[in-house]
Homo-oligomer: 337 residues x 2
DNA sequence: CTGAAAGCGCTTACAG
DNA sequence: CTGAAAGCGCTTACAG
């Protein structure tokens, strides 16, 4: 049943060349005559040969493996990113080796990644520890922090303009005539939350407002529900809430509607951040900021490829534009006369 | 910056033993004295050594890599599965190598997987071609079809009891007093769709009913919307629809409510299949069949581990129980007096 | 139990 | 351009 493994030696024999010639024929810029290469490729096709990536990785370090580190996949932003990233990488002959944090054996995840000789690391979660980021960067392997950054680390980063996004939301809510504007934070030690919050407060300040109340949802569904209950516990409730990401915003909307019997946006406006697919679903119609995931993936790939090819490990920080997506979960600004 | 790579030779030198002894100390059932092993482990810890998986894979074939093949990640069922699968595998020292189908270079995905010497393959998508499944199985590498099966192939499979699930739904709708019961299919050539549909029709028949109308959504969001419009185009509309998975059901609910201004479940009942997280969200509250993803993962892991360890490639087919989850998207059966 | 040695399938200087 | 040879870091018979 198992088909026999075919090696470069087999191909060499059939093509009547040396094993080295076979190897060279499969390498981009090796010195082989067109003639030899043709013979080799023909023989290889006949035998169904393709170079063993593992063997190549051993000798050359080129494993064509990119480690992708994530904490959770329940926020739809990440699956989408993983799908796109994986496709883009596959097109370039690379593959995604997945690591979920907070699991596994005693070994640090960094050690595990190194064991596989990964050529690059993408840390795709707002909530990964900075220690881990630093540890990764120390390996000398190109690291890109996706949707987070760590100023003190030598790792590259790719984010959307979270500060500007926060600002846009603040202005939008103020122009909508809201007076008691609240904020539900994600993880307080994540850069996304810090920036979104800072931008939001700045936007509020620019129009002479301040935040009316604040609670913490830790980017979790349950945490957000709790935060919403907290903010709405007393008689006077906020008339708008910026929830630090869409995933939490859905939970907040559920609590407001079903437990507190509030109408959205008549009684209270909700805005989120990310523009995950569910934001456009009829059940939520969430006004939010779109993180340009395709552009973010492109930037990630280009940083990775540059660093892998040139072996330069110069740090880069890509910040991509944030865009306000207006739907129906928040009262609209009045038309200017 | 790059820390120097430490090999078994380095550890051997420090521990004053042979390189073979180092290797043996890191292998489960190798003959080493407790004494030697202790010395080695101590030295290893000191140097931060851990065996190079790539080298091990080369020589022994044990890459500790499991290929996971998926088509799309926008149906939340799959991200959840990948997360759980990846965690379970990591706990056992394995890792997930991700393959998105329908991308990549000319090489078949099977060839790519073989190049990485993966020890197992999980095909986690209802929509992967049977040809691909067969090709995978031919490699001699253990293959488990997750959430699909192919009777003609030697691959193992893990599914929930889709036939029974379909039956449960049929009885539930009939008991709810529905008279014009429609079905929206997923991919017609997928085993999940076939079984759910067959079970549904059987359930209908058991209580003297037949399906009132049928349309195809191909498991896509857009396809489902179109199917819903089709079913509701004429004046007499169905009073219940079984949509072959939750992902499509959300789309159907959106169309019914927003475009057709129907109330759910007052005007029309909707039931889905999978019980993805969004099904319990307030915006949908979808009555559905729960696929026991944890049990399905457990079964997958156990099949994989058994086949990898014993090198037995006997086929297994696990079918796990389906459970009806009643929420509010469908009219309830009348209480029996 | 232990060490010396062969070998996994490649890539890559090194000569020619 | 081409081949013979070394070597990547391990595992695993083979002797002892």
């Amino acid at each position: 049943m198992k088909r026999p493994k075919v090696t470069s030696g087999d191909v060499a024999k059939l093509a009547q060349v040396s094993q080295s010639a076979v190897s060279r024929s499969f390498s981009q810029d090796a010195s082989v005559s067109a003639d030899t290469r043709a013979k080799v490729l023909k023989a290889a096709r006949k035998l169904g040969y393709r170079p063993n990536v593992i063997a190549r990785a051993m000798i050359s370090g080129r494993s064509r493996l990119i480690a992708v580190l994530v904490a959770y996949l329940d926020n739809q932003f990440y699956p989408i990113v993983i799908e796109q990233l994986s496709r883009a990488l596959q097109e370039r002959g690379f593959h995604v080796l997945l690591f979920m944090t907070d699991t596994g054996n005693q070994d640090s995840v960094v050690q595990q990644m190194m064991g596989y000789q990964v050529e690059g690391i993408v840390m795709a979660s707002a909530e990964l520890s900075s220690t881990l980021a630093r540890e990764c960067a120390q390996t000398g392997i190109p690291v890109v922090l996706f949707n987070r950054y760590a100023p003190s680390s030598p790792a590259s980063s790719v984010t959307s303009d979270n500060i500007e996004g926060g600002r846009l939301l603040a202005h939008f809510l103020v122009e909508g005539g809201h007076k008691r504007i609240a904020f539900i934070a994600g993880s307080e030690d994540s850069s996304t939350n810090r920036d979104r919050e800072a931008g939001f407060y700045r936007g509020l300040a620019e129009s002479g407002h301040t935040v009316w109340a604040r609670a913490v949802g830790n980017y979790s569904f349950e945490g957000a529900a709790e935060a919403a209950r907290q903010l709405c516990a007393s008689k006077i409730k906020p008339d708008a809430i910026f929830v630090a990401n869409d995933h939490m915003a859905f939970s907040v909307m559920d609590v407001l509607r079903n437990e507190l019997k509030l109408r959205i946006p008549n009684d209270i406006s909700i805005v989120g951040y990310d523009d995950v697919p569910e934001a456009s679903w009829g059940g939520y119609n969430l006004t939010t900021i779109k993180q340009p995931s395709s552009q973010m993936i492109d930037a990630t790939i280009s940083i990775l490829m540059e660093q892998i090819e040139r072996e330069s490990v110069s740090r880069r920080a890509a910040v991509l534009p944030a865009e306000l997506i207006i739907r129906q979960s928040a009262r609209l600004p009045k038309e200017k006369p």
